[in-house]
């Protein structure tokens, strides 16, 4: 658990960080909270000769709710997400999900940007961002571009982000309707055995719109359009929920690990999704 030698950079602006990235190319990596990257370096599974710490870049921090759009700087910590009343009022699912990430010590340092950009299928925020249909802003040497969360994830630790780009902010429309984030884990600090993010809009007792995403049940987060579609137009009754669960099960592809075999994970995914739908509907 001793990393090999590396150079530590602590730029004060996005431009300065991009300059270091450009200078060192493949030898450099940016670090947000470091909860994934530092253990990988200690295990010598990640070789990072130049580590660029983004913590000093104040322009990457902050939460803004304006005109129904929520914008969150990439270096905003999970703790800041939890303690923002403005965010909790605009998108209560954010606080609910963030409280299920690790423990307070981790959340004081862990950031939303690191969580979504690392591409770890175990992280909670990517699935939630897909559920919210969030937009990620990436800044590189050629300027900025935007990518939808639903298009961002390619495989485990593989995303649409280029090596010379930094994910700078996340934005999404304040969700309408009932929201729920449901997660089963073995213990505090563990990744999900299965987790579900659900947003349901209710009009005249029927589901007007539904958004469903699952976490740690494939090598990427799983946005299940079919699961949502199965609910739309229904009264969210038992049959519709079962159809949604079936559709979701068709979209996930869990693998066996110490949390259990595939069969168990699929079962739990179904239970967790049912519970999330039930809770979201009760809040819709």
């Amino acid at each position: 658990m001793i990393p090999s030698e590396f150079e530590y950079h602590r730029p004060g602006s996005i431009a300065a960080a991009l300059a270091v990235l450009e200078e060192h190319g493949d030898d450099a990596r940016v670090m947000a909270g470091g909860h994934s990257l530092i253990p990988m370096m200690k295990l010598r599974m990640a070789d990072v000769p130049h580590l660029i710490d983004l913590q000093a870049i104040t322009e990457l921090k902050g939460i803004a709710v304006e005109g129904g759009t929520i914008t969150i700087g990439a270096m905003t910590t999970q703790h800041e997400l939890i303690t923002s009343d403005e965010l909790a009022a605009a998108a209560p699912i954010m606080r609910e999900a963030a409280l299920l990430i690790a423990d307070p010590q981790v959340r004081y340092v862990g950031t939303i940007g690191g969580n979504v950009a690392n591409g770890d299928p175990g992280n909670d925020m990517p699935g939630l961002m897909q559920c919210l249909d969030a937009t990620f802003t990436l800044q590189g040497p050629d300027g900025t571009r935007e990518v939808q969360a639903r298009d961002f994830y390619e495989a485990a630790y593989m995303t649409d982000r280029e090596d010379d780009e930094i994910l700078t902010k996340i934005s999404f429309a304040a969700p309408k309707g009932g929201q729920a984030y449901e997660k089963q884990k073995r213990k505090i600090g563990d990744y999900a055995t299965a987790a579900a993010a659900v947003i349901l809009e209710k009009v005249d007792g029927k589901v007007a719109s539904a958004s469903i995403a699952m976490t740690n049940l494939s090598d990427t987060p799983v946005f299940s359009a079919d699961a949502g579609a199965a609910l739309v137009g229904s009264d969210c009754g038992a049959d519709a929920v079962s159809d949604a669960v079936s559709a979701m099960l068709g979209d996930i592809d869990p693998t066996e690990d110490n949390r259990g075999p595939v069969e168990f994970k699929k079962h739990v995914a179904g239970v967790i999704l049912r519970r999330a739908i039930e809770r979201a509907w009760s809040r819709a």
Binding site: M1, I2, S4, E5, R44, D103, Q184, R186, K187, I188, G189, D190, T193, N258, R259, G260, P261, F264, H267, V268, V271, I272
Partner: protein, 804 residues
């Protein structure tokens, strides 16, 4: 009345036995001021790190150290070839086997030590580990002990032709020993003729003590005066000194072993590890101090595991439920080397306490030790030697028998308990239980949890479940355990030939304060607090005026260390006995000072008083001063005493634990609604320390029962080498515990104390596990193996058809 109040005040001022004195150690621990091995930093100190095997079984074809040696700052890279001329490439284990210090031709488990890099700093050492090139040829792997006993694959080529092992004949090249106790023939006959027999395979999975602080050592050879100083995470520093002397040839007076503050041991720090040996060799070779500190993954993957017992049981009874016999065969997976930490004559520890709290007329136990491609160990993880396995076995067998008899498991226990009038009780497997009152403890426990109401609620829950009204089941986990601790009588207990006595040396200072040194070593048990309380009550000086010191072999008297809940039963007894020697001499001094005969004095809390003349007295403080400032005819100056205590018998703490658990059959999650723990540890020295011990032990039991394991895949890869997968409960997972007690003193112990540190692990594991089993009893579950993590509970429910 005033006299009585004065007397009570004097008793209170002593902070002696029975007082919930705050732990004196905590002032430094809570402020981060403890001094651990890794806090030892010496001028010119070098750092060691291991090259470890990625394979569970492989031949080592070659080791090339050139690139590592070429790295600036690397001082040495040791391999088995370098240790061989010193005869240190192998070392003896505590179990009569030998173990490779560094891979000698092959590796036998993943994480095995292959080479030891010594460098000027910790970072260079880690870099150099990457540069050592080892060529392996993979060999087929054995991770299943049953398969190992049938397989042609030879694990231990060094002893493959040896038919006789340390504990008798070996019947296969992967067989270590068969150890038997009890009357096999008579037991089989009883089983054959019994009205009811219950049979079950009970597996206690492999786990690990995982102390907060991993293992480490700092060795420093002073070549000028020929003295070796060794700081290390040792639960038995004196034995380490003796072993180091025997292995190195350095005379024992030239070795000083120091166990500084230790961040938890739980058995993990009893054995001798290659890191200790390599740091010693490296300091001798380089002439500079060498530090070795393992990391968490190394600790989990390569240092001593615990349990891994496959226990095949048969228990017989009359139709009314009176137990008539018990038969047990264990297949014990010992890993690559037999490095179990047990007294020499007991290769399965005290597993034959497995008749538990019950009066079982005839019994037999056979234990087969087996080699596999797993890490060596087999230590007592917060229990006396293999006692937690024994308790789990019998408490599961009782539950299975209750099912077979269609009987309430609490009632089945009650009608089979050893009765109070049967103590001292001779068990069918050879133990003499010192004292107990199981029925009183059991009744108190059942009343405390309102047992009958719980059963009624459970029955209703089953109805509701069947009617589709709930998806949660309710389990009531019962346990009545009997521990056996305080090893032990020297006549049958030794470690590497050293009799398992313990010791205390007391020196009273002229102003009436004292220092006492013991042969034990605290790893969090609070010895500095509680041993001072024993002494305070014995010699009448306040516990606040008594310093307790342990762990430095140059100053402390020889002792066998701290594990197996032996400190209070053995060293605590030595402390009391040494205290009584002090008091005996003090009585002579007081008699001289008061100008009366010794026999005219009586002891009263903190003073000797002339019988019938309470105004004439000398306090212990007065006496201490006199011991140093007056010439007393016939009495040597000073006030010191030493006691080496060889206990006449073990002590037998016991307890009744009840766990009430809700289980979600769909997700496999559980919630502990109530946990009641009644402990009887004999005389209680510090109720607050006892409660802390019980809380800690129960939390470790919770971990073991509900999620903690060392698991391997078919290739022998350890799947649980980090705390991401190895379950350590946080405050969130830990339930509230209700503690309670009865007090049945040990008749043979000077103060009647029995020891408590390990009881909660011994009794806790079956209580948690039985709760899980009990939740599914109505659906026919007889046995499902631990750990009861989410997916295994889900699988149990699924196999029982509870998912529709």
């Amino acid at each position: 009345m005033k006299d009585l109040e004065d007397r009570q005040e004097r008793i209170d001022n002593l902070k002696g036995m029975g007082c919930s004195r705050k732990r004196v150690e905590d002032a430094r621990f809570t402020q981060g001021k403890g001094k651990y091995v890794d806090d030892v930093n010496l001028p010119g100190m070098l750092h060691g790190d291991f090259v470890r095997s990625p394979y569970a079984h492989a031949r080592v074809k070659s080791i090339n150290i050139d690139a590592a040696m070429a790295l600036d700052g690397v001082v040495a890279v040791l391999t088995a070839k370098d240790l061989e001329p010193l005869a240190l490439h192998w070392m003896p284990t505590l179990a009569g086997d030998k173990q490779m210090v560094l891979a000698d031709g092959k590796v036998l488990f993943q994480g095995q030590e292959v080479a030891f890099v010594v460098a000027k700093d910790r970072y260079i050492a880690a870099d150099a580990v990457e540069l050592v090139e080892v060529e392996y040829e993979e060999l087929p792997v054995l991770v299943d002990p049953f398969e190992a006993l049938q397989s042609d694959i030879v694990l231990r080529e060094d002893i493959k032709d040896e038919k006789e092992g340390a504990h008798g004949p070996r019947r296969h090249h992967n067989h270590i020993f068969l150890w038997e106790e009890g009357d096999k023939e008579a037991t089989e006959q009883v089983l054959d003729e019994a009205e009811v027999v219950a049979e079950e395979m009970v597996y206690y999975h492999r786990t690990h003590p995982c102390p907060l602080e991993p293992c480490g050592s700092v060795a420093s050879m002073d070549k000028i005066n020929g003295k070796l100083t060794l700081w290390g995470t040792f639960q038995a520093p004196h034995v380490v000194r003796t072993v180091a002397s025997l292995l190195s040839g350095i005379e024992e007076h030239n070795i000083r072993v120091i166990s500084p503050d230790i961040g938890g041991g739980f058995g993990n720090k009893v054995g001798v590890y290659p890191g200790y040996v390599c740091s010693i060799v490296a300091t001798i070779v380089t002439g500079q101090p060498v530090k070795w500190i393992e990391d968490r993954m190394e600790n989990l993957m390569a240092t001593a595991f615990a349990r891994d017992y496959w226990m095949k049981g048969k228990i017989s009874a009359t139709k009314e439920g009176k137990i008539t016999g018990l038969h047990c065969h264990v297949t014990a997976d010992h890993g690559a080397f037999d490095a179990c930490a047990d007294p020499t004559k007991f290769p399965a520890g005290f597993f034959h306490i497995c008749t538990g709290s019950y009066d079982i007329p005839v019994a037999y136990v056979g234990v087969d030790g087996v080699y596999t491609n797993k890490a060596p160990g087999g230590v007592a993880y917060r229990c006396s030697f293999r006692v937690t396995e024994a308790a789990y076995f019998i408490e599961r067998m009782i539950e299975v028998l209750a099912m077979e008899l269609n009987m309430d498991a609490a009632e089945l226990r009650r009608i089979n308990f050893i009765r109070e009038d049967q103590f001292p009780y001779q068990s069918a497997l050879g133990w003499e239980y010192d004292s107990g009152d199981y029925h009183s403890a059991w009744d108190k426990a059942l009343a405390a949890v309102k047992y009958d109401e719980l059963r009624a609620e459970q029955a209703q829950r089953v109805e509701d479940f069947k009617a589709g009204k709930t998806r949660k089941l309710l389990g009531i986990g019962l346990t009545h355990f009997t521990e056996i601790v305080g090893a032990g009588p020297v006549k049958n207990c030794d470690i590497l030939g050293m009799g398992m006595f313990d010791s205390c040396e007391i020196r009273i200072h002229p102003t009436g304060s004292a220092i006492a040194r013991l042969g034990t070593i605290s790893q969090g048990q609070g010895h500095a607090t509680t041993f001072a309380q024993i002494l305070a009550s014995e010699i009448g000086l306040s516990a606040d005026s008594i310093t307790i010191e342990e762990g430095d072999t140059d100053t402390a008297p020889y002792g066998l260390g701290t594990y197996g809940s032996r400190s209070t039963p053995v060293a605590g007894a030595a402390t009391a006995m040494a205290g009584r020697k002090i008091r005996a001499k003090a009585q002579m001094i007081a008699a001289y000072l008061l100008e009366v005969h010794d026999n005219d004095l009586e002891w009263d809390v903190d003073r000797f008083v002339v019988k019938g003349a309470p105004e004439r007295f000398k306090t212990m403080k007065d006496i201490a001063y006199a011991a140093y400032n007056q010439a007393i005819p016939g009495v040597e100056p000073g006030l010191e005493a030493v006691s080496y205590y060889d206990p006449p018998n073990m002590t037998y703490p016991f307890g009744a634990y009840i766990c009430v658990m809700e289980i979600d059959v769909d997700t496999g999650e559980h919630e502990i609604r109530q946990f009641y723990a009644l402990d009887d540890c004999g005389t209680r020295i510090n109720p607050m320390v006892i409660e802390g011990q019980v809380h800690g032990g129960l939390t470790e039991a919770l971990a073991i029962a509900m999620g903690q394991e060392i698991a391997y895949d078919d290739m022998g890869n350890c799947k649980t080498g980090t705390l991401m997968d190895f379950f350590i409960p946080t405050a969130v997972e830990t339930p509230h515990y209700t503690t309670d007690h009865t007090e049945t003193p040990s008749p043979h112990h000077p103060i009647g104390a029995k020891g408590v540190g390990e009881s909660p692990n011994v009794g806790g594991v079956p209580a948690f596990s039985n709760a899980v089993h009990d939740a599914f009893r109505a659906f026919g579950l007889r046995q499902s193996h631990m750990p009861h993590d989410h997916w295994r509970i889900w699988k149990t429910a699924n196999d029982l058809g509870l998912h529709g």
